[in-house]
Amino acid sequence: MKILVCMKQVPQKDAPLKLNEAGTWIREDVSYEVNEPDAFALEEALRQKEKHTGEVVVVTAGPARASQVLREALAKGADRAIHLEDDAFVGLDAYNTARAIAAAIKDEKFDLIFTGLQSDDYGYAQTGVILAQILGLPHATIIMQIEKTDAGIRVKRELEAGFFQFVDMPLPAVLTIQSGINKLRYATLIGIKQAKMKPLRKVTLAEVQSAMGANLQKIEKLYLPQKSKNTEFLEGPPAEVAKKLVEKLKNEMRVI
């Protein structure tokens, strides 16, 4: 199986984020990490390759810093990487991101394309499905299990409120992968060493721009959420806070 994994670099979960001066995006001087569902997507691709042989290719669209995500993926066992490298890729809507990726892989034939089910920054949950439509491939979202069958694959979709569904589908196909589908591996020292020898193809914005268009949605303003509740903050040393909270639990919330 030849599998493409679309990955994204996003701000670290606990990184304190600040708004830029225009109030349209965050200040970029934060720590970054791989988008969590994408890490699970990579792991799943590596497991499928180990089971069925083949090749795992990773792709990202982002500035120079995003190559870190690809290097980590190569160290974990991906065979090669594609980096659509330009600062402009940060500000794309999902449609343009998908069009750019589709243009970058137009000469390749993958059996499976994975994305994480959504990104921790924009949270569109759309790029994978759009990519499937552009490539004319069937898709399934929020996948928790993948089994190869004679006719293609059988996947387990997660639905709301604890429900699931198996779906049989032909290959090639696009799947968006849910966090928790597997247990992530760590890169080994040998893996990290070998990663340096693996091919990483860079794709410039100019190479894919003809496939793209104007963004169809625009962030007018980014701001801190307004509080919907009158939150009472309990302060002081832990023992005192514990006392105050129990007093509230007893007299205000009446649960003790």
């Binding site: 979960k13 439509q133 709301e160 409120a161 198996f166 966090s179 939150t231 129990v246 639990l249 003790i256």
Partner: protein
């Protein structure tokens, strides 16, 4: 593109979900602000009864979009049918609930029409002739006002609880219902979905719990779950968790609160080290009282908390357990 807003309803086995009613409320609110015409469509096989149920609401028209190929749901059939429908009955704005089904096919449908969807919207404003849709970004740390560019039709999906289902206005007279039969040719549907099922038995029904102590990433290690368990025991409550904890296998999946787990509304929801991503919030924001303990003062959970403690849960929980025990005598 006519000044029409179309709400596409999600039905399952002949029933409308609450979030579908909420989306109609959203449509009515936008129609009131813009003066645009509001219509609704219900999509499936044998949906006439739901269409006439909808017709009692304040809507200019209701469509029953019918094809036997729409049951069971597949993204291929839904995108195909709705593309065909929207080409015959154009709308400027198409609203849908942000369900797992909708998010499975909307990006495909929007792309097939060479347009876009703003997903997971929690609010909308009409300012200076422009519609601004509010959605969370960066896991709820920020919200963004997002606008559309291009010619549409523009798709919007609304998060659970963004509008109130009980605010849906009834119509003065029944809206006309039109059945539109769409053709989904052989070969369009590539996926073969099997029956929907629930994983084994749910050992615990958290929806009945009056007190829930819930843990998130801030608990750091599996062995620390015990601390939360002691607090839950002292309070006489159930232990629950956000998704990453269950993903790690630190607690079973049936203890998960949020969009993919259980939706709860206990008297007390005590969140330990939970940042408050929207997928979690939708599962617990109806709780009567919410107490959040988190070391990050910017954590989104604090926006919906009644009582907040900014601090290290490992410092606060042990004396809290002692105080609860004391208070209970």
């Amino acid at each position: 593109m006519p000044d029409t807003i179309l709400v596409i309803i999600e039905q399952r086995e002949g029933k409308l979900s609450r979030v579908s009613w909420e989306t109609i409320a959203a449509g009515q609110a936008i129609a009131a602000q813009t003066g645009w015409t509001l219509e609704a469509a219900v999509v499936g096989s044998g949906v006439a009864a739901i269409a006439s149920q909808l017709a009692a609401k304040k809507l200019a028209k209701v469509y029953a979009v019918e094809s036997v190929r729409l049951e069971p749901y597949t993204p291929d059939a839904f995108a195909h049918a709705l593309k065909e429908f929207l080409q015959k009955h154009p709308a400027k704005l198409v609203l849908m609930p942000h369900t797992y089904q909708v998010r499975d096919f909307v990006p495909k449908l929007a792309t097939a029409l060479e347009t876009t969807a703003i997903s997971d919207v929690i609010g909308v404003r009409y300012e200076g002739g422009k519609l601004l849709f509010t959605r969370q970004m960066f896991q709820g740390k920020f919200v963004a006002d997002v606008s559309f560019a291009g010619s549409g039709p523009f798709f919007v999906t609304f998060q659970n609880g963004s509008f109130r289902a009980d605010k849906v206005e009834a119509g003065a007279a029944a809206a006309p219902v039109q059945t539109v039969n769409v053709e989904v040719p052989d070969g369009v549907v590539r996926n073969k979905p099997q029956e929907v099922f629930k994983e084994a038995k749910q050992a615990v029904d958290l929806t009945q719990a009056e007190i829930i102590v819930s843990v998130g990433r801030g608990i750091k290690e599996q062995k620390n779950i015990e601390l939360a368990r002691q607090l839950a025991d002292a309070l006489g409550g159930e232990l629950a968790a956000s998704r990453p904890i269950c993903d790690n296998g630190w607690l079973p999946m049936d203890r998960q609160i949020g969009s993919s787990g259980q939706t709860v509304a206990p008297k007390l929801y005590l969140a330990l080290g939970i940042s408050g991503a929207i997928q979690h919030i939708v599962g617990m924001k109806g709780s009567r009282s919410i107490v959040a303990i988190n070391k990050d003062s910017e954590a989104p959970i604090f926006e919906i908390a009644d009582y907040a403690v900014v601090g290290n849960l490992f410092d606060i929980v042990p004396p809290l357990i002692e105080e609860v025990k004391k208070a209970k005598g």
